[in-house]
Symmetry: C2
Subunit: 447 residues, 2 copies
Amino acid sequence: MTENTTDNLNIILPHQIRITEIQTHDIRFPTSLEDLGTDAVHIDCDYSATYVKIFTDHPKLVGVGLTFTIGKGNDLCAACIDFFKPFILNKTIADLENKMHSIWRQCTNHSQLRWMGPEKGVVHLAVAALFNGIWDLISKYHNKPLWKYIIELNTNDLLDKLSFTYLDDAISRSEAFVILENKKRDVAFSKKNIIKNGFPCYTTAAGWLGYSDEKMTKLIKNALANGWTHFKMKVGQDINRDIKRLELVRKLIGPNNILMIDANQVWSVHESIEYINKLKKFDLYFVEEPTNPDDVLGFRKIKDAVPEVNLATGEMCQNRIMFKQFLENGSLDFCQIDSCRMASLNEIIPIMLLASKLNIPLIPHAGGVGLCEYVQHLNIINDLIITSNDIRLSEYAESCAEHIENPAIISNGHYVTPLKAGYSAIIKQKSLEDYNFPSGKYWKSVL
Amino acid sequence: MTENTTDNLNIILPHQIRITEIQTHDIRFPTSLEDLGTDAVHIDCDYSATYVKIFTDHPKLVGVGLTFTIGKGNDLCAACIDFFKPFILNKTIADLENKMHSIWRQCTNHSQLRWMGPEKGVVHLAVAALFNGIWDLISKYHNKPLWKYIIELNTNDLLDKLSFTYLDDAISRSEAFVILENKKRDVAFSKKNIIKNGFPCYTTAAGWLGYSDEKMTKLIKNALANGWTHFKMKVGQDINRDIKRLELVRKLIGPNNILMIDANQVWSVHESIEYINKLKKFDLYFVEEPTNPDDVLGFRKIKDAVPEVNLATGEMCQNRIMFKQFLENGSLDFCQIDSCRMASLNEIIPIMLLASKLNIPLIPHAGGVGLCEYVQHLNIINDLIITSNDIRLSEYAESCAEHIENPAIISNGHYVTPLKAGYSAIIKQKSLEDYNFPSGKYWKSVL
């Protein structure tokens, strides 16, 4: 696999390697057949990826990036990437590294496509896939896992790549500089620890709403046996069923393990207050997405009404401007950055920096396709050079790992730190071929 | 034109007419050639429409709907509508009238497509086009202009069609009922007046950034001669040029005519405060979109810093949840509803009702393709059965009127009330054929 082999590449200078081709693929896995990913509003998820391959004139250097979707619309996202190709093709690795922010703004602020957003929905997901691929490419060129490439960048070189557009009322570049420089002082020590111990995570894999009580019980018992201590359950289809399930879960995991719930936006603000009051007796670490993900002020109303319960949101938080408001307004207690909805590290890192400034913990969203692989890097970057908050936690949901070349490895409830070059989310060639939509072998056989 | 002929249709019962086919068209007009629509961030707009035709088994009854875009991405929006067809095909007119809200939720809350939003960007624009077409179809069946169909609906029948999902913390259905019932008491008198006098509007047509001072001067002089009294200018590319242009405009229109400016999101919050302080001496009626359209709290920061200047926003406000926050938070002074970005009247009317509750005036966004035709109806509906606010104003920018069958007519700075059946935005058949992208005659000749 060329996508995974990058040793000794940087004996060639970065301005000598040029982007020659960008391929997009609409990849869909039929996960709806097994109720994977089912929650109060997503009842038939086919975990999917808009997948991008960025080829260079060096046969060994290929960047891959993806954004996660749940089926229909993945084709629109793939088609959208075509509009951005002219900004990337023929650029050198040096161009991508040195002019990254202006190229990113060409895409996110495209003079015609911005009408379809701006910076949200299909067009923003497309930018996410493309820039995830660009970061993968650059770090492979340097033969480093992405987290290592980032933490070893000179602070100004890193800041040059990021977007603080529309953020300056909340965090300035110079404040960001200070946060990074202060935190970097003990990076050597932390790095040793993180490579040794990994990064703690919680599991969502037992909690899908489509699962029967029997299946859920079996999965939780397995998880306990494998060392898991943090569990997230889906709620929101029926409050009485939610109460019964949470009674069962709390009994299974005992009083000391951590329990959180996720309503996936199904309640109004008033319903959120009513139902959270009914469910809080289960000692909830947080309630995720009680209501609409756009509702900065609605989340705050819920928090004001039930101040003893923490709220989490972010997997559908569309961009840095929305996160800025959620963070500044105290509308969330846990910031659940999504590696594929935000337009890659270019706006994720600025939001991590703002969360650090406000001392709000980060617990990235994961699961789906490739998200676990991506968040490993985000967690380490945040932990080593950004946050000073003590809470260290990340989501994990084993899904579609069989299609990933080197999937995230979990040991005793911890992500094992990835050491291979790149950004880790590479789909196996055979899976790309079989699950290409609609022409791959699998889809041909069922459509 | 079948799309325009509906007399005597309702001798056939509404459950006897069925939707048989839905066609989508990607229509683009090369307006970038004349700098039409140019502002601080949209430098090369090709005014476009994702255009939907809804055919029935009655040859004389065809609904048409559109959403406005500015070029690239119009194809994605057209493709997205295909996913919603199964929810509409084979439905009767009676189904559409009686189950409209549940059909609308099937589309806006589609279990897979909602991941691409939810309720924003490409997928939401697609719902807008489709439901603009459905409202057009229903009102044509009743042989009434849409505004008349709406104001004559029984209040509960109207409310049944609308979405208050995620709004109940700001406005309840029963509050909405009271607003409508109270206002309807004097509808007969107001209706007579609005048919006689039309609805006041302001013009944007002279203010595009790409226009030279000479062209702008000529257009303003023409507009003054034609009775215009309200003028909007684009700003934001260069503060010194803005000052010079506004000096010229103020001199041309004199101290008594109304002047407003539109920065099209180009400033950060800090820059907004700085530049608005520099420009406020020109006696501005409002400043539109100083910063990012998602930034509810940022707008409020600007208002708090320069309380003497009114702010307006809305053409990029993605859905009712965002408008709820802008309105409740006092982040805007004028609510610029967009008929094609919001998912049609189903969520526009609830926002009008909330604005009415909070006594915030509505000044809908228009221009582009079909927007002026649509907002005529929204203004009248708001004026006759919703708002109690005294300010009556709407945008007008003559653009692409030559492609519309019965374009909005302006007389002495007022929209002349449309009296034909339907929702008014019908593109001429020849324009549909010539400007179909990329296969129409015009695009074939230039691509």
